[in-house]
Amino acid sequence: MSEAVLKVSGLTIAYDREPVVEDFSFTTYPGQLIGIVGPNGAGKSTMIKALVGSLEADLGDVWVKGVQGKKARKLLTYVPQRGSVDWDFPVTVYDVVKQGRYGKLGLLGRMTKKDREIIDDALAKVAMQDFAGRQIGELSGGQQQRVFLARALAQQGDIYLLDEPFTGVDAKTEAAIVEVLRELREQGACVMVVHHDLSTVGEYFDTVMLMNKRLIAMGSTAEVFNKENLRNAYGGKLAIFDADAMAVAGQGG
Amino acid sequence: MTMKCSTMMWCGLAVSLQLFAMGCEPENKKQKTTETSAQAGEGAETGSKPAAGEKPIVVVTTTMLATAAAEIGGDAVDVRSIMKPGGDPHLYQPRPSDAKMVTESALVITSGLHLEGWVDDLVRNAGGERPVVVASDGVEPIKMEGSPGGVDPHFWFDLQEWSKASQNITRGMVDLVGAESDAGKDIAKRGAAYKAKIDALHGWTGERLATIPEEQRILITSHDAFNYFGRAYSIDVVGIQGVSTEQEASQRDVANIIETVKKRKTPAIFVESSVNPALIKQVASETGSKAAGPLFSDSVGTEGSGAETFVTMFVKNVEEITVNLGGKYEAFSAPDAKESGK
């Protein structure tokens, strides 16, 4: 098996006294398309934010390709939830994707032809090249999500962390995004996606992380989605999910 | 909405904390200031015994009134002043402790002519009854557009008017203690002595200013406080800021003053003790004129300034003006040497 790209050990994050993410440990490898699922408030977004440095974790270690700390974070590519952004901000689609080049350009770096090509490619991949000059607030939800994805592509990393990219997005966009993610996986990237829709988990992802503050199970959808795991994750809400869970379990990965 | 509610709540809390803190101010400080001014003006007039029981409290607004009232009232009354030296009566914001002072008082003396817009509310809300003496009763006011009430309130710079005011003050305090009483007679005596001193000062001022050469007889200051001075002693008067320090000077106002200074070739312009000197200094640096002063306009001087009473303050002003505008200065000697100011 290839080298682990992301190794997390004992990650714990607490806001008050109750931990929101507790003793979380896992390892991921290149060429994986991982769905992170769990009930609301399970700490999925929090966990991702801690990995990329948007939040401080209280305990735990994170290795990215063997390195830790700031260097490690630079290797991660993060696509935040759409809701956390100020859509009135004066930026165009092109500007947003250009932000993906900040890691390389820094404070004052001039853009080279290569940079422009990377940005144009990213826009083309998400079919937003015609919108390059539009202000970000003029776009629909699906279009905005695509721009975010383009920004991530422009970073040219190979470890992707996406936080609920399909929320509030039209079906066509969802399909397009899944295509891009699959392509990334083919290219050897490791893609982790916080996902909210249990019914599509089996179809989109080869690996599933089921969590509720703690990691309950990680593996293929068939392995993970059994009654016991789902009960541990969803607790009393299991009744509602019974039918879905059976359907999911039946799909296999 | 949330913000408004919590902000208002905290504003209310802050304001109440503020009121609480100010209300708890000890009374000692005020007593000390009054006694010092009483000693400063007092000659050897300690012959009279104070009336039996407590001394009536007389509350005055400005520091000019405070020193005059203290000198005239002597031991017979307890004079308390709302304003402190160096303050600006145009902009003063009264506090609950001032209201308390008025409530405890038996007599209130105000300057009048709309100088202290804030005192009417204090008196009205103090409850009880007390006579209010307006020191400027009978004064011939100078009209001034844009000033509260349409008049210029700085009447004390015309000593003939201040002389009338001192009579008002005397009469008010005599009525308070009773004209037939020993205290009343002493107050009347001191009042007459004070008036005599003021009248002498008036004559002396006219003499000093007459020694200033004609073209240089122009007094330029921060705000229009000296119009009565100009009227009484034949000297031109210009203020940069208008009659109340509340008005803000525009660049044009400053430019106009600069032109005036250049035209009249004034050797000196004057800062005032209770007004921001920045604009005067600006004009001075622009014209090469000297920024002289400070002149005391809305208040007597602070401790150590040599201008702690009305008389000494007036003398200092005249000295400053005469010397800097090229006149000849000679010291003032009061009619009764015992009572001369420092």
Binding site: T77, Q99 | T2, C11, S250, V254, E286
Partner: protein, 332 residues
């Protein structure tokens, strides 16, 4: 005195003559006042743009008001109203307020708008108490302390102007240098953190820059109006441009222009201090932006709505006439 002169309309010729005089810099103080007004306008416009975009506009108000206790304490300690200690006191107090706001609003349950409102009121309240106390116990003249509340650029000294110039150049340079991380962290803080931008440090640096700007601007416009100069240019600029460089440039431009025009008005008319004139000019710019700005201005919105309606009506007409045609027996 001043209001009456405004009322009696100055002849146009007179205004023209005074304007020529204004630009000939007949007096040194006018040149200083103009320079100061332009710098205050530009500086506040730049710093304020980030406040507006981060929805921290109220912080501008808080920064202005929170200088008051520092000014009073500095006066009590220094015993005089001289520039350097007063400005130092103002700066310390404004920075302290910024830190307190930061600390309060970092907690999980707090809201930054309430935090700012609280700090504004409490600091200013403390300042008023101190001012009262000074009125009570002043042994030296405190004249001019309340000038900090209102400010008057006509009285600005060369030293104050130098301080203003230094701060303007430094902060202006810093803004340009750090424009990218500033913009990214304002737009998307989570993403910014993930690419290594120190989001928290930037937040505090911005508040520090705000405090510094406020302290040097207070002498021109005073404590109360400085928040207007911080907010109005940035708020106006977003109606004109859809990208950061345009917005920032417009804000700086509008701010500087407001300063210049305010100074000009103060030179033409008696009794109109520069500070309020500046704010009135800036407000006029805002109203124009709100009305006519291409990005969301009222006029454009009305025009677009009309066009939309016309298009819808045209389409409806076309389909009705088509169906009428068909009904009348015409083939398709």
């Amino acid at each position: 005195m001043g209001a009456a002169s405004l009322m009696t309309a100055l002849e146009v010729a007179e205004i023209g003559a005074r304007t020529v005089e204004f630009f000939s810099f007949k007096y040194a103080f006018v040149a200083r006042a103009l320079a100061a007004s332009i710098m205050v306008g530009g500086l506040c416009g730049a710093v304020g743009t980030f406040l507006v975009l981060r929805r921290l506009s109220l912080m501008g108000d808080a920064a202005g008001h929170s200088t008051l206790p520092g000014i009073c304490v500095a006066f009590l300690l220094a015993g005089s109203v001289s520039t350097l200690p007063i400005m130092a006191g103002a700066l310390v107090s404004a920075l302290l307020a910024a830190i307190v706001v930061g600390v309060i609003s970092r907690g999980p349950r707090s809201r930054s708008d309430a935090a700012i409102g609280i700090v504004l009121s409490v600091f200013f309240g403390i300042g008023i108490v101190l001012l009262s106390h000074i009125q009570r116990v002043a042994t030296t003249s405190y004249a001019g302390l309340d000038a900090m509340l209102l400010g008057n650029v006509a009285g600005i000294s060369p030293e104050q102007l130098t301080a203003l110039a230094v701060v303007t150049v430094v902060l202006g340079g810093a803004t340009l240098l750090f424009l990218r991380p500033l913009s990214i962290s304002t737009f998307d803080p989570s993403f910014a953190a993930s690419v290594g931008i120190p989001v928290r440090a930037i937040h505090y640096a911005l508040l520090g820059a705000l405090s510094l700007s406020v302290v040097v601007s207070v002498q021109a416009v005073g404590v109360v109006l400085v928040s207007a100069m911080l907010i109005i240019p940035g708020a106006s600029a977003v109606y004109w441009f859809k990208r950061m460089p345009g917005v920032l440039g417009t804000a700086v431009g509008l701010g500087a222009l407001s300063g210049a025009l305010g100074a000009w008005v103060s030179y033409i008319f008696e009794g109109v201090s520069t500070g309020p004139a500046m704010v009135l000019v800036a407000t006029t710019f805002f109203l124009c932006s709100l009305g006519f700005g291409p990005r969301g201005g009222l006029l454009w919105r009305a025009v677009r709505r009309r066009e939309r309606q016309r298009a819808l009506v045209a389409r409806a007409d076309a389909s009705t006439s088509a169906s009428a045609y068909v009904e009348a027996g015409g083939g398709l």
